[in-house]
């Protein structure tokens, strides 16, 4: 089909002026991809799909959403009411909003799988260090975008989540207070905060789109890793991206959409995991909900914060737990990439995944003495992974690598 299209006169006219043909060839029909990908390599294209879904549904939501904390006659606020109006009165408003709210969680599911894949198969190691670093930037911007977005419906969780997180910045010495005022535009979270979060919520995904472009460009320079983690013969051991992987990615999209549609149509709140119950209550700045926790995708980092009694240390450790991802490629000194051939690293990385899940569980639950200890242990495992990594190559007996794939 692509060949047919590329033979039309219109295409030739465009090609002479843009070299579109050679772009399609080098990036798609002749772009070499290792022939042995497993399904863990599907999540990159899924992340791209969800980003597009978020931007499209977001742009349509903005047509009716109103970012104002002004009180209405009903006793709620303009923002809260506008979201309720989207849900009840706007044609298909409920669908678009649920696509967006479920999409935010889906985005993190997909991206966390994508990152986990990179960890397990050593994709962060040379020559892909910069590709990994760009990925960490994407993760941070995503978390920012989701945090800003969560304030917009102006429910109880929106309000108190934003209060807690903006207070985090207040813990930093000297600049903290200014940074906090800069984020809030006032002494407490209020109308100015809502407006600027709306502005940034629009900006961040567009930034994301640009950076994702850079991520893919960097990928196409250094090429994909593969489950064996070995360097491959770019001619003999690859197949062209199109049609082989376009088809495999399409299968992934189908499976993903099945799950996504289940949640959008039948279970948009996902038992309080995607939209928290308290967020159906309009924001009240005089009453904190009995239990506040961020949405599931931020809870691992929230637990790290809660583990430390000293506020500043908690904030620094939370920041550090994300920042340390930037230097991961330089911490790991082993020559072998894939965990398949690294018995010690394999145990470590699996333990690391478990620690993140446990951290997430602790952060989602109400604080208790037992959970505090569990959280502290999981936090040590999380950091222990990074601290041990620079020394593993000294004693790890890696398994012999295959000659080819």
């Amino acid at each position: 089909m692509i060949e047919k299209m590329m033979n039309t006169r219109l295409f030739h006219w465009v090609d002479e002026r843009t070299q579109l043909g050679s772009i399609i060839k080098s990036q798609l029909t002749e772009y070499p991809v290792p022939k042995n990908f497993n399904y863990m390599w599907n999540f990159g294209s899924l992340a791209l799909l969800v980003l597009v879904l978020q931007i499209v549904t977001g742009i349509f939501l903005v047509m009716y959403y109103k970012p104002s904390a002004e009180l209405t006659y009903g006793g709620y606020t303009v923002a809260f009411d506008s979201v309720e109006r989207i849900m009840r009165d706007i044609n298909f408003g409920w669908l678009i909003r649920y696509m967006h709210a479920v999409g935010a969680s889906a985005f993190f599911v997909v991206v966390y799988m994508h990152i986990g894949r990179g960890l397990y198969y050593g994709s962060y190691k040379g020559p892909r260090e910069l590709l990994w670093i760009i990925g960490v930037v994407i993760l941070l911007i995503m978390q920012g975008a989701a945090f800003f977005g969560y304030l917009l419906p102006w429910g109880q969780m929106s309000f108190w989540g934003a209060t807690v997180i903006t207070n985090l910045f207040g813990a930093l010495p000297v600049i903290g207070e200014y940074l906090q005022q800069l984020l809030r535009g006032g002494f407490a979270v209020g109308d100015p905060t809502l407006n600027r979060f709306f502005s940034l919520h629009y900006l961040f995904p567009l930034l994301l789109a640009a950076i994702v472009g850079g991520h893919i460009h960097a990928l196409h320079v250094v090429h994909s890793n593969n489950p064996e983690g070995i360097d491959i013969d770019q001619e003999k051991e690859t197949i062209p991206f199109h049609p082989y992987y376009t088809v495999k990615d399409a299968l992934g999209v189908g499976v993903f959409l099945l799950g996504y549609c289940y949640f959008v149509f039948f279970n948009p709140e996902a038992w309080g995991y995607f939209i928290e119950v308290d967020n159906f209550v309009p924001a009240n700045n005089l009453q904190t909900p009995a239990h506040i926790a961020p949405v599931w995708y931020l809870t691992p980092w929230y637990t790290i914060l809660r583990t430390f009694e000293n506020k500043l240390i908690g904030v620094l450790m939370m920041g550090g737990s994300l920042a340390i991802l930037f230097v991961l490629p330089f911490l790991d000194r082993s020559k072998v990439r894939s965990a398949r051939y690294r018995p010690v690293f394999r145990q470590m990385v699996i333990l690391f995944f478990v620690s993140v899940v446990v951290l997430g569980y602790c952060g989602h639950s109400a604080p208790s003495a037992t959970l505090k200890i569990v959280g502290a242990i999981a936090t040590s495992v999380y950091f222990g992974f990074f601290l041990l990594l620079p020394f593993v190559h000294k004693f790890e007996k890696t398994k012999p690598l295959p000659e080819g794939i």
Partner: protein
């Protein structure tokens, strides 16, 4: 031609021009960043008046001052008794850690302990000094009313639902809480016997 060029002069001009350009670029950031700080009307020190005689004995009321929540509690004699006797469990029993937890009128030990101009009327900022949630008022002692959400030797006070900080009935933070300080006090004075001017 190039031989004759005065390179040190050229470099100076590059640096000077480049430096000025950088300063100008930096200066344009000022209005943008500045616009994000609280606006004049938000800053305008708004004051709040409140008639504390409307708070009955033992009751807690949450009012607003500059968009922030404020606790007003009318403490009973029994509650005032329970402020004493656990100084060793507190991070800062005399409220001396930072400016925000004390006030000029705290000129006696009594006032530092009760943290109020009139001992029974406690007025403090209601934001947990950890991350700003509003703590829950759990005034009776022991676990009878509160279950294991409070420690066994609970003398009454506040429990923050967010990360489990505890404060006593003078809003002083209990050891082991993630909150670093006592609840903050803000400037207030009695205009009449029962009307306070906050701010």
């Amino acid at each position: 031609m190039t031989d004759k060029a005065d390179h040190s002069r050229r470099n100076f001009l590059y640096v000077a021009a480049g430096g000025l350009g950088a300063v100008a670029a930096g200066a344009t950031a000022v209005p943008f960043v500045g616009s994000m700080f609280p606006a004049a009307d938000t800053l305008a020190a708004s004051k709040t008046e409140y008639d504390v005689s409307t708070v009955v004995e033992g009751q807690l009321v949450v009012i607003q001052w500059q968009g922030k929540p404020v606790f007003v509690v009318n403490r009973t004699a029994d509650m005032l008794n329970r402020v004493k006797g656990h100084d060793d469990l507190l991070k800062d029993p005399m409220s001396q850690a930072i400016d925000a937890v004390q006030a000029e009128w705290m000129d006696t030990d009594e006032k530092r302990i009760y943290r109020a101009i009139k001992p029974e009327i406690l007025i403090v900022v209601a934001s947990c000094t950890h991350l700003g949630c509003i703590p829950l008022f759990k005034p009776t002692s022991g676990r009878e009313d509160w279950g294991d959400s409070v420690p066994e030797n609970w003398a009454g006070g506040w429990h923050c639902p967010c990360h489990g900080s505890f404060y006593d009935l003078s809003a002083r933070v209990v050891n082991g809480s993630p909150a670093p300080q006592n609840l903050h006090v803000m400037p207030y004075k009695y205009k009449t016997d029962s009307v306070v001017l906050i701010g």
